[in-house]
């Protein structure tokens, strides 16, 4: 029986976290978490409070992540944590106060490198009843900010980090974890969502200041319903730039999505065929913008033109 994480008492969640029996289900992936640091407990109560959670393992999970000290010494002296997704990664140890960042980075690595049921694209996805918008951008391209703004426009969140494509029909599946906001985008998103939706800011991280926008209960409740992409966006943020969009040919869109996938080559022919279906079913644009307001007006117009 899965219940919301926030309904568990502090003590029982803390014990389960230590034992590694916290099992959360978010859309298409189940996750098992083990951790020793209390900072993580507070973060889970805040950012994951509405996520269906079980404190007794019921099945093999897609993801199994541990957040622990890199060695016995760093468990006690000048304490540090690392994310351990079950395979060796060159992760820099972080101070315990940044264990939420270690958790999120570890979960991202796990989805990117271990989950091959889907072709995985480094992109944000949001959807309405008529279809989805897939936003593919490098870090700093504004996909999380844009996804947050679109959530306020009535879209449900699939992910701000991954487009998860079923290769048989090119449907996109949701894994709505908290939206990662960096630097200036924290205040921008706080302004239009309200501060109550944003976690405490983690300062001085290797990526600058980071905060997370909590996922809405409705995003979680509807996370088992896939959607088909109607619009693909490749945004570039250039401070002060006037907004403009260029429609891409289908082949151009396909070739731009391939390098954003972590497992396209691994999955081979099935991924190619799925990606063909994806680009055939969606209009694609490169957009350049200088502010969130500019980008939103442009995206609304493009979404309307794509039948959303």
């Amino acid at each position: 029986m899965l219940t919301k994480l926030s309904t568990y008492h502090h003590t029982e969640l803390s014990e389960a976290l230590l034992k590694g029996t916290v099992e959360m289900t978010l859309g298409c992936f189940s996750m098992r978490i083990k951790a020793t640091d209390p900072t993580l407990l507070d973060f889970l109560y805040d950012a994951y409070r509405d996520v269906p959670t079980n404190l007794e393992l019921s099945d093999v999970t897609d993801i199994s992540l541990k957040v622990h000290a890199p060695n016995i010494l760093r468990r006690y002296i000048r304490r540090q944590v690392i994310a351990d997704p079950g395979f060796i990664v060159p992760a820099a140890p972080l101070p315990p106060r940044l264990s939420p960042l270690a958790l999120e980075m570890g979960l991202n690595l796990s989805v990117a490198l271990k989950c091959c049921r889907f072709t995985t694209f480094h992109s944000a996805v949001v959807a309405k009843e008529k279809g989805a918008i897939l936003i593919s951008a490098h870090s700093g391209g504004g996909k999380s900010t844009l996804a947050s703004a679109l959530m306020n426009d009535g879209y449900r969140l699939f992910s701000d980090e991954f487009g998860l494509m079923d290769m048989s029909d090119a449907s996109l599946w949701a894994h709505p974890r908290p939206v990662s906001l960096k630097g200036q985008s924290i205040d921008i998103v706080k302004e239009f969502t309200g501060a109550e939706w944003i976690t405490k800011t983690l300062t001085g991280t290797p990526k600058g200041d980071i905060a997370y926008r909590r996922v809405r209960p409705s995003d979680i409740e509807e996370s088992s319903t896939p959607a088909f992409a109607k619009l693909i966006l490749f945004p570039t943020f250039i401070e002060g730039a006037s907004p403009h969009a260029r429609e891409l040919a289908k082949a151009e869109s396909l070739m731009k999505l391939i390098p954003s996938s972590t497992n396209y080559h691994l999955l081979g022919e099935a991924a190619f065929k799925g990606l063909l279906k994806l680009v055939k079913g969606a209009r694609a644009y490169e957009i350049v913008y200088g502010s969130t307001e500019d980008s939103m007006q442009m995206v609304r117009d493009l979404a309307s033109g794509a039948g959303l």
Binding site: A249, L254, L276
Partner: protein, 102 residues
């Protein structure tokens, strides 16, 4: 990977079991099943792959068939472009010397 030394007698072929060709609007996209690489082909490259998928050809024997495929006269086709295209396609493994050469 390129074939290495070749001659005018080298016979080239494309293995249709290893390549998926798909037309997207006016562009041909090729997926190579073995390498997992995806390529955009211009009309000349697409014609070369299509013709060499039918069977092995030398530069000389392939040329009229490729020109016929794209409905061009020899006079309209710059010197050496077919040979250059064959060598480029060899570089990305979409074609290779046929086994009879080895």
């Amino acid at each position: 990977m390129p074939a290495g030394p070749y001659s005018d007698d080298t016979q080239w072929c494309a293995d249709p079991d290893k390549i998926i060709l798909e037309t997207l609007e006016d562009v041909t996209v090729a997926f190579h099943k073995v390498s997992g690489d995806t390529h955009i082909l211009n009309f000349m490259s697409a014609a070369v792959v299509a013709v060499l998928s039918e069977g092995p050809e030398t530069f000389a024997s392939a040329t009229p068939k490729i020109l016929n495929y794209i409905q061009l006269d020899e006079a309209d086709c710059p010197d050496g472009i077919i040979k250059e295209t064959i060598l480029q396609l060899d570089e990305v493994d979409l074609i290779a010397p046929s086994r009879g050469n080895q």
